[in-house]
Symmetry: C2
Subunit: 430 residues, 2 copies
């Protein structure tokens, strides 16, 4: 365990700075070229699914449910077997589900866009309102924030806690401000912290009393089956928000999203939205104008390959076996090098795709820039906050999935070096 930087004398700091600068020069000379910017599956993970490509072939029975020709038009909400599979993944009922194309991001965009152009369940389209606001728990997912920003929706940052978004603040905003129309939530293994909503948080979400009749929770269950550990004791559990909302008398308050992008293939999975009967009917009114149906052969491929939720769970263990050493390699370096320094904290999630690192206030941009200069690309500092504006300039998202464990160690070695150097420089400024 290292000495706390704050307790060092100016001389100690200056000496340390010199050492770290020397190390940094050496690191730069290594010519690293590593990318930890995005939650991209590695080639080895993608190799796991190759047999999936044979699950439907020229000799296959192409009928779904014994009667639906998956090669033809139709089946707006997906083939029954795919609805069942995606419902089981989300732990909801098939009748709540529409199976869509290859990206849940696209469904989320379309859902916001539909609210903007046509309104939700007969409410005023958001484009006709002077002001629409969304609550954005942060640090969060930059692509969520990009959607709301694209539609001119004002984003209000809500702090995250290890049990999910700070519900005191959420309740306050939602109950008092009728221009607050939505909130983004990654309820399980959140991006980037890997936090999961506690039962209490889910129940508080379900029991919200929104000022706006068309307030919606955008529940992006992106990492629902994405555990890093096989032991149940190290797997986060999440209450089903749809049934909790029903029980609380708010059946129409949530849209849930998920996909198999990090199950089968990142570019060629299937995605789904789940919601109440009324919301699903409302979506289908627009959807039937927008498309004749999504790719049912790819839906068939998924159900033939995975068979059922157990097939998915078994497959996810293989992903976990590849991801776990990378997370652990990163966490080991963080612990060895930063524990006790008082200049950084980080999360150690049980699942998902990210580790969140908090460095000294005012240092995140600098650390990311220094890493980049030495050949390691991180997610841009600030990206985890609305408008790319991290008010403390302290959050860094680490995406361990793409590099190898060895590369992950190397990259994290550089990262901690830059974290220390930035901190020393900061402390010497004072």
């Amino acid at each position: 365990m290292s000495k706390a930087f704050a307790e060092m004398s100016k001389e100690e700091l200056l000496t340390l700075k010199e050492e770290l600068n020397k190390e940094y020069s050496e690191a730069k000379s290594k010519g690293l070229a590593l990318n930890m910017a995005r939650g991209k599956p590695s080639p080895a993970q993608l190799d796991l699914g190759m047999a999936f490509l044979d699950a439907v072939n020229s000799t296959s029975d192409m009928l779904s449910d014994g009667k639906i020709d998956t090669r033809n038009y139709g089946e707006l909400d997906g083939i029954p077997e795919a609805k069942k599979l995606m419902a089981d993944i989300m732990e909801t009922k098939p009748e709540n589900v529409i199976v869509c194309g290859n990206a849940s991001l696209n469904i989320m965009y379309d859902t916001v866009s539909r609210a903007y152009t046509h309104g939700l369940l007969g409410n005023t389209p958001w484009c006709k309102l002077d002001k629409v606001k969304f609550l954005c728990p942060a640090p969060g997912y930059d692509r969520h924030f990009a959607i709301t920003e694209h539609f001119g929706i004002e984003m209000i940052t809500v702090p995250m806690t290890p049990a999910g978004p700070d519900m005191d603040i959420v309740e306050e905003w939602v109950s008092k401000d009728e221009t607050v129309k939505g909130i983004w939530v990654v309820p399980k293994y959140s991006n980037p912290q890997g936090y999961s909503c506690s039962d209490e948080t889910v129940k508080r979400f379900a029991a919200l009393k929104p000022a706006a009749k068309d307030f919606r929770i955008f529940w992006d269950n992106a990492y629902v089956v994405h555990h890093l550990y096989d032991e149940e004791s190290r797997q986060d559990k999440l209450l089903d928000i749809i049934s909790e909302c029903e029980k609380a008398g708010n059946p129409d308050m949530v849209f849930e999203f998920c996909s198999t992008s990090k199950v089968s293939f990142a570019g060629a999975g299937i995605s789904a939205v789940a919601s109440s009967a009324a919301n699903i009917a409302d979506i289908k009114k627009s959807l039937t104008i927008q498309t004749i149906g999504y790719d049912k052969i790819n839906q068939l491929r998924h159900v033939r390959y995975f068979k059922d939720i157990n097939g998915v769970k078994e497959h996810m263990k293989k992903h976990a076996a590849l991801l776990r050493p990378k997370f652990e390699a990163c966490e080991q370096v963080l612990k060895n090098e930063l524990e006790g320094t008082g200049i950084a904290t980080w999360t150690t999630p049980n699942g998902g795709y990210f580790i969140s690192l908090e460095v000294m206030a005012g240092c995140a941009k600098k650390v990311v820039a220094m890493c980049k200069e030495a050949g390691v690309t991180l997610t841009g500092a600030g990206a985890t906050y609305p408008y790319k504006n991290d008010p403390k300039d302290s959050n860094i998202r680490i995406a361990p999935s793409y590099p190898s464990p060895e590369e992950m160690s190397q990259a994290t070695d550089l990262l901690v070096l830059c974290v220390k150097l930035a901190a020393v420089e900061k402390l010497l400024e004072v």
Copy 2:
């Protein structure tokens, strides 16, 4: 050749009516159950493409262009080989193309939706305007009209001619009314008439002088390679609208759409939009928020199976061999039974998916209802006009693709019977 109904005496009409009613009762007792409502490929057509499902399998090289892993995220505008293939189908350049998901309808919806929410090339979003109008050549495609109606866009019917939309009327509206923001066009083998735009029509489109800076031609090239005959002399030719618009100084005036829905599989093809560099850049500004990329494995499947445009053309000959007898069976019955009666006209297209039948004014709804009662489902009367309102109630769309040639004859036998019966009843009303 039959006698012209209009020349018959009242007695002749009454006798004919009695005969026809008897035939109709007999027809009803046959218990037909045939569907000519939609342009759905038949199972035999879908069987043509089964080998396509093996084009990418567990042993495949999954790299596009030797470097892009099609299984991972990315490549917003599609893999290079797919851009080239779709460009060749549309006879435009790959750099004009974005390859999308399984349905061009979805791109068309999204294109209108983007214009509505964000505006085109910096122009005012249509949702902020009091009035937006679209020109709708009719008879036309019901799903086009459904999109514009869904966005509250006022639809103005423009008559069709065998050389495409009536350009005198198009030019008049487009040049004088700045609320006219678009026109739907199926330029080749139009739905439902099978008409193609002549060179003059394409050039007049390209040379339009719109009052609205953000006027766009929505050029739905759905049937670009969908010839019914292999002989070049019986294949309609179409000028490339994108280069014509460039030459005329209107480079940004057109969005072109196409898909392989009726080439590979109706539910699992790939689609594309083509336009000028400025429009493509404009689309990508929103698209990069909407998705990380479309299904690249399905794009790879297409390029590996078809190889190039010649592969597509050869494959389309197989579709034509299956479709041609159905069109001819239908046309034969129409000719045998209606020629000379003066109560109907019909088109005999060289390609596409439809035959358009014009019955006596005021009779289309009745004919469709009578057919339905006797077991043959046609596209709803009126569907080929904006707001489902065929002012003359005379147009009926025939979709020969799904039934067998024998069923097509049977169905058309019933159809002509109903056309005659409705005409006789109409003539007796006077």
